[in-house]
Each structure stands twice: as structure tokens, then as C-alpha cells.
């Protein structure tokens, strides 16, 4: 039995679809320097996100019938509290 794929038009035969993927890079690199053993040591931190998109088009009409998205968040958010000296 031929597999089917759920699309916006319901379940359709996989053989009637064209599958494609795309990566989108929204990554920024932050370089911080610190001293270790009297040498500057760079540390690279990735910010932003990476997207992976999966698309299925109808092989006959070219219509986009299914699109999935997977987002990888490289870094969360931070709160930086501070304490001041009193007086």
C-alpha cells in the first residue's frame, strides 16, 4: 500500500508530491575575550535561531500543500540583577 501524506487537501499519495527542504540561518556570533594563563582566550557564543523548513508541493500543479517548520533557539534570555552598596 502506498503511503499517504497529510496536506491541506487531506491525505494524498506521497508519489504525487515533491518534497524539498530549506535551511535559514539567523545566527549571530558573539566573541568574548578572557584571560587564562596570561593569554587572551576567545569564547564564541551563538545567538539567534536556525530554521529548517520542509515543503511538499503538488507534483502536477506546483501548489504548496504542506509546510513544516523547525526552529532551534541557540540561546535563551537573561536577567541581570545588580546589588548596590548601601550608604
Amino acid at each position: 500500500m502506498e503511503p499517504v501524506v497529510y496536506t491541506k487537501n487531506g491525505n494524498v499519495l506521497a508519489s504525487t508530491l515533491v518534497y524539498s527542504t530549506e535551511w535559514e540561518d539567523h545566527i549571530e556570533h558573539e566573541v568574548t575575550l578572557s584571560f587564562k594563563d596570561e593569554q587572551l582566550v576567545p569564547t564564541v557564543t551563538k545567538h539567534g535561531y536556525l530554521l529548517f523548513k520542509e515543503r511538499y508541493h503538488d507534483a502536477e500543479t506546483g501548489e504548496l500543500v504542506k509546510e513544516s517548520l523547525h526552529a532551534y533557539q541557540f540561546k535563551g534570555l537573561d536577567i541581570s540583577p545588580t546589588a548596590e552598596q548601601i550608604g
Binding site: K8, S68, L69, Y72, Q73, K75, G76
Partner: protein
Amino acid sequence: MANTAAICTSFKKELLLGYHAFGATLARSDTTLDSFKAALYYTAASPSIDATTTVYTTTGEVVDASYAAAGAAVTNASAPTTSGTTAFWTPSASIAWTTLTAVAFDAVLLYNVTHATKYAVAVFTFGSQTVTAGNFTLTMPTNDASTGLLRLA
């Protein structure tokens, strides 16, 4: 070693654990764990979803038969912890929507769903996106002091 003014690292973790209640009125009476959810918002949400958002709102939230209002459950199996002077917490699994159709959304609001007032926690954005009869998965960052989803540095 000299005394140094600082927010105690243990306090940062305890904030995430709900140990402290400042002020003259006890605002919290719950004795059970909180649950969290993630809701999706349109790029054109008005008011926008940002640092001024205080509670979960349906205004600007994605509307579609394939999307359950209030969003998806956030897996909360990892206890907040510390490393160095940073406390951090990250959901223990990806946040996922299946067979979703949503046009031009760009934000997810993490919020506390246990309280009647559904307090906002954080907003994450990823550019305007569209999903058609597909899956949308938000994969979490590494749960450590430099990349964890929520960090008190």
C-alpha cells in the same frame, strides 16, 4: 577575602523555584507545581507581545481550527539549577505543534497557566513564519548557564 555586594546565586535559583515572597501581602497560596504553556502570536499582533506583556492574552494569538487556543504545553521536568553565579532553567523537551496551519506568526509567549491570572514569563521571536498543514517545532537551547532558555546572570 573581602566582602562583596552581590545578589546571592542561591537566591536566583530560589526565585525560579518560588521560595521568596516579598511585600506585605502573601500573593501566592498554591501548594502545587506550576504548569507552563507556549502560545503563538501573529507578526501583526496589536498590542505587540514584548517585555510589557504581563499576562497571556488571546489578542493577536494565532487563530485557526488546527491551533488550540492558549497554545502548547511546555515540558517542565528540569529543576532550575546554578552554575557559577548564574541560575538557569530550560524546558526539558521541544515545544511542538502538529498539523498546524498558521500564517505570518513570529512570536511565542511562555506563560504560567496554573494561576488564574496567567502570568507572562518571556517572549521569543523567530521572524515571520508560515506553516501549512505541517508541524512547528521549537527546539530548546542547551540547558546551561550561557545558553539556557531563562537565565538569571
